[in-house]
């Protein structure tokens, strides 16, 4: 029976203009103070790898490269940090990636050769990460709380909760995905004074309440109208209880999120943020967390990754989640299964 297949990528870090040298390159070249200039701190993306990601998603509708079993993708989920900053110009570049326009004969590029998914026949779901919420600040360069994302992505994202449509349905299994925004709303919500302190998230109780209500609503509606098994997935930028996250980048109050996930009987949380692809479950957690690496950020010492989750039912109608990791292979100019 065909599984439900979701391509999960994260942390694209698209910018209006890609920098050819990252902050790390500048430091290593001895330009310490140049690198420290506040507005040079945000890293940017590799447009060529973004283009190859768009190609793969566009062409794989027919199972050409990544769906060897000819099972097409059912959805693409981008769990935040689509842009380098939450400033208008960077977010507009990210909007181009999602919505185009499309070049007359290159379906994965805009007329000015920016990579785009606009021609893809696979639904694209997204949510904001901490970079998408960065706004200008006087001395530290950037501060959390930017709202431009909500305006520019209004057709894809309704803050702070989005129930993605359609609910995926195959072989007796329905899969509903809900996105939630746990970004800092203001700089004072951060903890500590570490460098990169605004990379933290916080489990806002009001957002968590909405997330639980939306989950319960979907579950009740499904129970009344379908015999299918229902799997609920939450999509969040910040991975809770992550084994790979620095204190300066943690999700504050993440225990509340875990408790709510347990209460709601969710199957998984899909997240990004750490730039490290990892699948984990901590003690007391009744669901798994699937954390995507960065798909396209230029500085990626661990490589460029996305993964595909295949959800299906076993003979006993228990949910099985298969996890395929793909890494960009520069020689082949393609993401390859690892």
């Amino acid at each position: 029976m065909p599984p439900v297949r979701i391509l999960h990528a994260s942390d694209l870090h698209i910018a209006v203009k890609a920098k050819l040298t990252s902050v790390f390159d500048q430091i290593s070249a001895g330009m310490y103070f140049h690198a420290l200039r506040p507005r040079a701190l945000a890293s940017t993306y590799d447009p060529a790898i973004l283009l190859r990601l768009a190609d793969l998603i566009y062409h794989d509708y027919n199972g050409r490269y990544i769906n060897q079993a000819a099972h097409r993708l059912d959805a693409v989920l981008l769990t935040g940090d689509l842009a380098t900053t939450g400033k208008h110009h960077d977010l507009e570049a990210a909007v181009k990636f999602i919505d185009g326009p499309v070049h007359p004969y290159l379906p994965t590029q805009t007329p000015d050769y920016v990579p785009t998914l606009a021609s893809s026949r696979t639904p694209v779901w997204l949510l904001p990460g901490n970079h998408d919420r960065l706004r200008s600040a006087k001395l530290t360069g950037y501060s959390p709380g930017g709202k431009i994302f909500d305006t520019l992505f209004a057709s894809h994202w309704s803050s702070p909760i989005t129930e993605y449509d359609p609910i995926l349905n195959l072989s007796g299994l329905s899969v509903a995905v809900i996105g939630a925004d746990f970004n800092l709303e203001h700089k004072r919500q951060r903890e500590g004074r570490w460098w990169n302190k605004y990379a933290q998230g916080r489990v806002h109780q009001s957002v968590l309440d909405e997330l639980e209500l939306a989950t319960q609503r979907i579950q009740a509606k499904h129970a009344a109208s379908s015999q299918d098994e229902l799997a609920i997935i939450w999509a969040i930028h910040f991975p809770p209880k992550s084994p790979a996250v620095a204190t300066s980048m943690k999700l504050i109050d993440d225990e509340h999120l875990v408790e709510a996930g347990n209460r709601c009987g969710i199957s998984a949380i899909l997240a990004g943020h750490t730039h490290e692809p990892v699948r984990y479950q901590t003690p007391g957690m009744k669901f798994e967390v699937f954390c995507a690496g960065t798909a396209t950020q230029d500085f990626a010492p661990r490589g460029h990754y996305f993964h595909i989750l295949s959800l299906s039912l076993d003979a006993g109608r228990n949910l099985e989640i298969d996890w395929e990791n793909y890494r960009f292979d520069a020689t082949n100019s393609r993401f390859m299964l690892v």
């Binding site: 209006v16 203009k17 890609a18 920098k19 050819l20 040298t21 790390f24 390159d25 430091i27 290593s28 070249a29 001895g30 420290l36 507005r39 040079a40 590799d46 447009p47 060529a48 790898i49 283009l51 190859r52 190609d55 062409h59 400033k87 110009h89 004969y105 290159l106 379906p107 994965t108 590029q109 000015d112 050769y113 920016v114 706004r135 200008s136 600040a137 006087k138 001395l139 530290t140 501060s143 700089k187 004072r188 004074r193 570490w194 460098w195 990169n196 302190k197 620095a246 300066s248 010492p301 520069a330 020689t331 082949n332 100019s333 393609r334």
Partner: protein, 199 residues
């Protein structure tokens, strides 16, 4: 059938001259800095931010400094890296065009249009820059002089026709090749068994 030796390593692909690579990176840095500065000048700032300035002594964590100190910083290596980045991005851009429906239908890509246009985005420099013209010229010369107008990648071929248009075609992938090779070896083995009469 392609030969295994033809599965060319990407390192043999085009690299711009060191001078050009340095100039492109310099233009990119200047352009991005100017863009950010003008953006900074035209924006209302969050004045509350003064109270929450980063502590400079905590600006970097130790892992960052380790990366900084372990990275080689010689000029040659930096220039080599610039050349690699630019060559890589052109390589991936051509690979992308090869997979387009237009290329599969035999469409041709005007060299002097698609390379400056595409590489403007790939390299973050203005499309009208003379450096993109020079990059196109260096690539054209490399293709003609070192590959007689046709370069074969792991799964694609790029050719330059008489009208200075690129023709991009997919060829067998490495996986396809290895599978074909295995079948061929299987056929040889079967033929050998028949010849020797061994079952």
């Amino acid at each position: 059938m392609i030969d295994i030796d033809d599965l060319i390593e990407k390192k043999l692909f085009f690299r711009p001259s060191a001078t050009l690579a340095q100039a492109i990176v310099g233009l990119n840095q200047t352009f991005v800095s100017q863009f950010l500065q003008s953006d900074w000048d035209n924006e209302e700032l969050d004045l509350e931010e003064d109270e929450d300035v980063d502590d400079p002594s905590a600006a970097f964590d130790s892992s960052l400094m380790v990366q900084a100190t372990t990275a080689a910083t010689g000029r040659d290596r930096v220039e080599d890296e610039y050349q690699r980045v630019i060559g890589d991005r052109l390589y991936h851009f051509l690979a992308s065009m090869t997979e387009s429906p237009y290329a599969r239908e035999g469409g041709r890509f005007p060299l002097w249009e698609v390379i400056p246009g595409g590489m403007s985005t790939m390299l973050g420099v203005p499309r009208e820059s003379d450096l993109l013209h020079t990059l196109t010229e260096e690539f054209r010369n490399w293709l003609l002089r070192e590959h007689r107008g046709t370069y074969k990648g792991p799964w694609w071929v790029v050719s330059l026709d008489d009208d200075d248009a690129l023709v991009l075609k997919e060829i067998a992938s490495k996986q396809d090749y290895l599978e074909a090779l295995a079948k061929k070896r299987g056929a040889f083995a079967a033929a050998a068994r028949e010849t020797s009469g061994v079952g």
